[in-house]
């Protein structure tokens, strides 16, 4: 039982990181109707920027406090993501208003490879460490119930709390502010949104910027767990099934989808793995997503698409 719970908690923690990346997809899709393939590249780019600046700032300025250096690096990386958002809008999206979804997807594919390349040119292609000083020592919980208790990683708990706070903030932003309403309007119909005077260009910069910050937080947490390296972009591919599962238009869907996939991967690996020789973790999410596509194409929480025939 204790082992089961440990696996479950481990899965939840991994799932939460998927959720964060999936959240980036959902935000941009909701607000601009663009399936942003570049979300993974943005995670890598933001994480690289943060890791390198955290390393450079003490060198350049002589600040020795790691907290100050990390905070400054976070702010700088955030500012860089803002510039990236602004440039993407200015150079790419602005010229593709009212185009087909497939055209926009191809554009983001282009952005993906460009950002991956540019990120590594600017910041280097080694494995870098982000150390935000999260406590690494494990906690033992429920010691009275199980012998030896359950091992929980303190770092994971803090990461989960950060993610939860971010999600709460975003839901309030989307549902309760008039800018959030304008974002949802743009997602639904570009032309109608323009006709009532919603500035498409500014909305897109805002949403890409928010997605950039989400990418930065995801990259920071992930980077501090596994180090910042190129493989971060493939993590984003793991978030694709999460989006399918949760629904492309739903923020809660991204969160719950991420958790389901995280837990599903770990449990299936541990309990089913031995029968089929292991390796389930790699494809489990995709198979689950395929099953969902068959039975509930709009995902768990996505808006059902009703078309007039």
């Amino acid at each position: 039982m204790a082992f089961f719970l440990e696996t479950l908690i481990g899965g939840l923690m991994a799932g939460m990181l998927y959720s964060l990346v999936a959240l980036g997809f959902v935000l941009i899709y909701k607000a601009s109707g663009v399936f942003n393939f570049a979300q993974g590249a943005m995670v890598l780019f933001a994480a690289l920027a943060m890791a390198r600046f955290a390393e450079w700032i003490p060198k350049w300025t002589g600040i020795s406090s790691p907290i100050v250096a990390n905070l400054a690096a976070f702010v700088i990386a955030g500012a860089i993501m803002f510039v990236v958002a602004w440039l993407i809008e200015k150079l790419v999206l602005r010229h593709l208003v009212n185009q087909e979804g497939a055209t926009l997807l191809m554009a983001t594919l282009g952005i993906t490879y460009f950002m991956e390349g540019l990120g590594q040119t600017l910041f280097g292609s080694d494995i870098y460490k982000i150390d935000v000083g999260m406590p690494k020592e494990p906690i033992f919980a429920l010691e009275s119930m199980f012998q030896g208790g359950i091992l929980i990683n303190k770092e994971d708990v803090i990461a989960a709390a950060i993610a939860a706070a971010l999600v709460a903030l975003l839901s309030v932003f989307f549902q309760k502010t008039s800018t959030g309403r304008a974002l949802r309007a743009v997602a639904d119909d570009h032309q109608a949104a323009q006709s009532i005077g919603i500035p498409l260009n500014r909305i897109w910069v805002i949403v890409w910027c928010v997605a950039g910050v989400v990418a930065l937080v995801a990259g920071m947490i992930w980077g501090s767990k596994l180090g910042v390296q190129f493989s971060l972009t493939t993590v984003a591919l793991r978030a694709l099934p999460v989006v399918i599962l949760g629904g492309l238009t739903s923020v809660p869907g991204a969160i719950i989808g991420g958790l389901i996939i995280g837990v599903g991967e770990k449990l299936s690996e541990v309990y089913l793995g031995p029968f089929v020789g292991g390796g389930i973790e790699i494809w489990f999410a995709y198979v689950l997503a395929l099953v969902f596509l068959l039975f509930r194409p709009q995902g768990l929480f996505g808006e059902k698409i009703i078309d007039r025939v």
Partner: protein
């Protein structure tokens, strides 16, 4: 008594309908798509507080005309003067800022959003508080939101869609969606309202309701209305002046009675014997 629809800031002043000066002047507009001439040398004007209809058979260029005024299309030639300012090129957002709102022929509502949210988006240009204030719900931002919400409630009462407030518009029947579309445009407190076939696809009862709303808006609000319509009967009943287009050319302009007796118009609609 139906609640009157008026801006919260100013009480209604329109009691008897007075047609004012020219508010919108369209001069020699031509529009070409490649080799296709959608509009050729069209000129007409719209006076303040009037209901001006643009009619014509299918493919006459009515929607193209409206899209030129709305800034969706840029005319190949000609100019549009709005309140004394002349433009030969502008975009939808600028037009919206100048106080021109529109509805769409093929509904362009935000389907996933509730009726209230859809109409609230129409208040977008009026919202002054910035993003940070909204996010933190600081006093002024909160009060502003409430004020706009109140205005939107007026519109909802006016259009008699109270029961559907929270329903996602995608789930509403067509006639009601058309009303929401009108509501969203009204939320902008427009000076000129462009209606693209507001009665298309409606049954008689729905058409009568829509007519009533259009007349009420014009009456109580003093809003100038430019509408495109297919249904001749409806147009003749509610408009002050009518422009008739056929094959992208203007073939008639005047009061409903004048237009009705115009030879060219009759032949365009009924066909001529050769």
């Amino acid at each position: 008594m139906k609640p009157a629809l008026y801006p919260l800031e100013k009480p209604p002043t329109m009691t008897t309908k007075k047609i004012g000066d020219v508010i919108l002047d369209v001069k020699n507009i031509s529009l070409r798509f490649g080799g296709v001439k959608a509009l050729t040398d069209i000129s007409f004007n719209v006076k303040e507080h009037e209901i001006r209809a643009i009619i014509g058979p299918n493919g006459a260029g009515k929607s193209s005309m409206l899209n030129c005024i709305n800034g969706v299309y840029t005319p190949s030639e000609g100019s549009i003067t709005f309140r004394g300012k002349t433009f030969d090129h502008m975009n939808s957002r600028q037009v919206a800022e100048m106080g021109v709102a529109r509805t769409f022929q093929n509904l362009a509502l935000f389907k996933g959003m509730s009726v209230i949210d859809n109409i609230m988006t129409g208040r977008n240009l009026k919202i002054k508080s910035n993003l940070l204030m909204q996010a933190l719900r600081i006093g002024p931002a909160e009060r502003e939101e409430i004020r706009h919400r109140e205005y939107v409630e007026h519109i909802i009462d006016f259009l008699e869609i109270q029961a559907y407030r929270k329903t996602p518009v995608g789930q509403l029947p067509y006639g009601l969606q058309k009303r929401v579309d009108l509501g969203r445009a009204l939320a902008m407190e427009p000076q000129v309202l462009l209606l693209d076939e507001p009665m298309a696809g409606m049954n008689v009862e729905e058409k009568q309701d829509m007519c009533r709303f259009i007349l009420d808006v014009n009456d109580e609000f003093g809003t100038t209305i430019v509408l495109i319509e297919h249904d001749m009967g409806v147009v003749m009943d509610i408009s002050d002046r009518v422009v008739v287009l056929d094959y992208g050319k203007k073939i008639g302009d005047g009061s409903p009675d004048e237009v009705r007796s115009n030879e060219d118009v009759i032949s365009a609609y009924l066909g001529t014997s050769h």
